[in-house]
Amino acid sequence: MRAYVARRLLILPALLFGISIISFALLNFAPGDPAEIILRRQNPEEPPLPEAVRALRQQLGLDAPLPLRYGRWLFDVLKGDLGESYRSGTPIMSELVKRFPATMMLATAALALSVVVSIPLGIIAALWRGSLLDSLSRLLALLGAAVPSYVLALLLMLFVAVKLNWLPAIGYGSPKNLILPAIALAAGSSAQVMRLTRASMLEVLQQDYMRTARSKGLNERTVIMVHGLKNGLLPVVTMLGINLGHLLGGTVIVETIFGWPGVGRYAVESILQRDYPVVQGFVLYMAFIFLLANLAVDFAYRWLDPRLHFGRQPA
């Protein structure tokens, strides 16, 4: 376990380095000269003078060779400075930090929703294989996997918010506002988690140790709860980590639809306004969060599965 943790932590800087390269490259491939874009924003009336552009390029350090620019940029990033928005001139880091709690709240609510709904459903479907409930939950999983989050979001908005007037369509602040976006975001991943839980439980139920547990006279409840669930839910833990990536990605769309003041909507607005430094900062920020989250999930998995603690490390 300790060796594994050490190895994962050693890879971390390499991954972070790679992530920084990709993010840096992203801004470099963006069309347009940043100096010119900034000058045009300051004075939209007339095209900027070539001398002014040249002066600003020099001031921003844009005329330095690429590796040097990367080095300077990385140094700033390590200090927590992601640069400034073309649009507003505000520091990107503080904008992201300000908006991230909203995104985190939405993603956490969606994750909680999909865990609370889909894991019990998957377990029941596996235990009562072939029953009506099993068929029903499988149908639900199929529908959930096929409906795009934006379609579900618009449908919920139309029927639950506009027609029935049960919940607010847009807005932020009260728990009521959280319900519809969380459902829209959770649907796809819930379907996956349910299917995986069902499949994993079905496999565990056939294992020898289950028969052993029964034959030594444990009651069915203990067999299922202790031996079944403990083993059957292990793959689901890994799945949740992968799902967090899907959920974070999904927030981009769902936040845009519901007017949710998170980093996803900020990124989309910035993309449509060609505010490339924000897009770059957003990618870097989200990749970092995702990396840490996955690391946590991985360690949790190792910790939960005693087979992985002792001696041999699986490749």
């Binding site: 991954l15 996997a145 934006y150 618009l154 506009v162 990124a267 770059q280 957003f282």
Partner: protein, 315 residues
């Protein structure tokens, strides 16, 4: 896409000189016959499941629609006619018109063309890259493997949709850039898959035999390794078609892809957003279209996966 052509060409070339001696050929024929019997039997079982048939029907219908859109569509999908805007379904316009007086049905039909073609191109490019990277990595191992799989790990460290949104957004809104963004993000997982399969068979007897008679590395990779893993990988990737379509229409929905007046389902949904309350059908039609096609591919994919899995249909 010259790479795809190259793969197809080399696979065909490989199948042309396969027989070594008469006995081998005889044995091969017999084995082929047994295999085809097995496939036949499985196909019958496959078609007995109504879910599989439904998936197959939806996919065939969608592809037919996409190909035959010019024949089926009653109007030009880009014909703007402001006096006909937002008409209810009628004789001239079977599904009514959108906010610019364009025929909804024609736009939906042509939308199938745009969406499926985009998804098809993404799939083909993903394949080409995944096969090359996976084979080189698995076959040669060593530093090349470390390097390529490091790149794969790096790409997988990003939340997929977020990187795709950022790439498409930075390159500028266009359908082409959506394809580039999707392919750039999606190939990594498959490359890992191909590498695993190559590792599993690279030391098998037939590969060693080929090496013993002096076949070159390229020849071994193409005619011995690819021929054995092509089928399963194609099926596995095809069943992710639903995900690819969801991703593509998501990017289009955000306004990063097809530009007006190109008919595309995700973009049509976005067009319908301002009319959510008064003209919900503008969003319901393309929403239903995406949902159905994704459902079809998912159903078909599940069926195909079972077909490949030897434990599904025990003898």
């Amino acid at each position: 896409m010259p790479t795809v052509g190259w793969i197809l060409g080399s696979t065909l070339a490989a199948s042309r000189h396969k027989g070594v001696g008469f006995e081998v050929q005889m044995e091969g024929t017999l084995r082929l016959r047994a295999l085809s019997l097995r496939i036949h039997r499985r196909l019958r079982l496959f078609l007995r499941d109504p879910a599989n048939v439904l998936g197959l029907v939806i996919v065939v219908l969608a592809v037919t629609t996409a190909i035959a859109a010019p024949l089926l569509a009653p109007h030009d999908p880009t014909d703007v006619s402001l006096q006909d805007r937002l008409l209810p379904p009628g004789r001239d316009f079977p599904l009514g018109t959108d906010h610019l007086g364009r025929d909804e049905l024609s736009r939906l039909l042509y939308g199938a063309r745009t969406t499926l073609r985009t998804a098809g191109v993404v799939l083909a490019v993903v394949f080409a890259i995944a096969f090359m990277v996976g084979t080189l990595s698995g076959y040669y191992g060593g530093w090349l493997d470390t390097l390529l799989m490091g790149l794969v790990d790096l790409l997988l460290a990003f939340p997929g949709l977020i990187l795709a949104v950022a790439i498409a957004g930075t390159l500028g809104p266009s359908l082409m850039n959506v394809m580039i963004a999707m392919a750039a993000v999606w190939w990594a997982g498959y490359a890992r898959l191909v590498r695993g399969m190559v590792l599993a068979i690279r030391n098998r007897e037939f590969v060693e035999a080929a090496r013993a008679i002096g076949a070159s590395d390229g020849r071994i990779m193409v005619s011995h390794i690819w021929r054995n893993i092509l089928g399963p990988v194609v099926v596995l990737a095809t069943l992710d078609m639903g995900w690819i379509i969801l991703g593509i229409s998501g990017l289009n929905f955000l306004g990063l892809g097809a530009q007006p007046p190109t008919p595309e389902w995700g973009a049509m949904l976005n067009d319908g957003r301002p009319f959510l309350q008064t003209e919900p059908q503008m969003m319901l039609y393309p929403g239903a279209a995406i949902f159905l096609v994704v459902l079809g591919f998912n159903l078909l994919g599940d069926g195909l996966r079972d077909l490949l899995d030897p434990t599904t249909y025990p003898r």
